[in-house]
Amino acid sequence: MDPGQAIINLIQFLLGGASLYSLLDDTIVRGLVLMFLLYLVVFIESILANKRAEKRPC
């Protein structure tokens, strides 16, 4: 796994963990925002994956 992917995975893990933890902490709105941010990171990751696939020779 390359370092960039590892950092993205770590960010996703932290956002997901914090989002779930906020449910226990009774702060739903913060949890929702963190969940949305998590999906935004996954969205950016999929865009980057598509870019990498375009550059790869067939």
């Binding site: 997901g16 989002s19 779930l20 449910l23 226990l24 009774d26 739903i28 949890g31 929702l32 969940m35 949305f36 998590l38 999906y39 935004l40 996954v42 969205f43 999929s46």
Partner: protein
């Protein structure tokens, strides 16, 4: 006015990201593929990742529904109860989306073998459409809650 513009642009960013990611993950639910040269653990990791991404909105949804409809429930209890419900919901959808011989649509009994595959494909599409619309409905429920 500036605040409204900021809210609109942030929501546009979040909502397009959510729709895209959820759509990508849901499309994987109805797919079974042979391992080929892929290792079992690689496939297991992909399935786990897909289920984790789909779990978040469902956990939030069940959690908020429980906390708003049951007044006496504790925050921790609502969280713990929403975990197995989400797990079983996703498992049920996955099993129903890939029907076995016993779970195949009843319509298959009234058609020949040549049309059975098409009917099963339609059934899969219906199940995936259901879960996609269910998950996309959740943000609206959350905003109302």
């Amino acid at each position: 006015m500036l605040k409204l513009l900021i809210i609109a642009s942030v929501w546009f960013l979040f909502f397009s990201a959510i729709l895209h990611v959820v759509s990508q993950q849901v499309s994987l639910i109805g797919v079974y593929h042979d391992l080929g040269d892929e290792s079992f653990f690689a496939k297991f990791r992909k399935i786990l990742k897909c289920n984790i991404y789909l779990s978040f909105p469902i956990i939030f949804s069940f959690n908020i529904v429980m906390r708003t409809t049951i007044t006496s429930i504790q925050v921790t209890d609502a969280f713990l109860i929403s975990l197995p419900i989400t797990l079983m919901s996703l498992l049920t959808v996955r099993v129903l989306s890939n029907p076995s011989e016993e779970l195949k649509p009843v319509l298959c009994n009234f058609h020949g073998d040549d049309q059975k595959e098409m009917l099963v494909e339609l059934h899969k599409e219906r199940m995936l459409s259901f879960i996609y619309s269910f998950i996309c409905r959740i943000p609206r429920s959350l905003l109302r809650g």
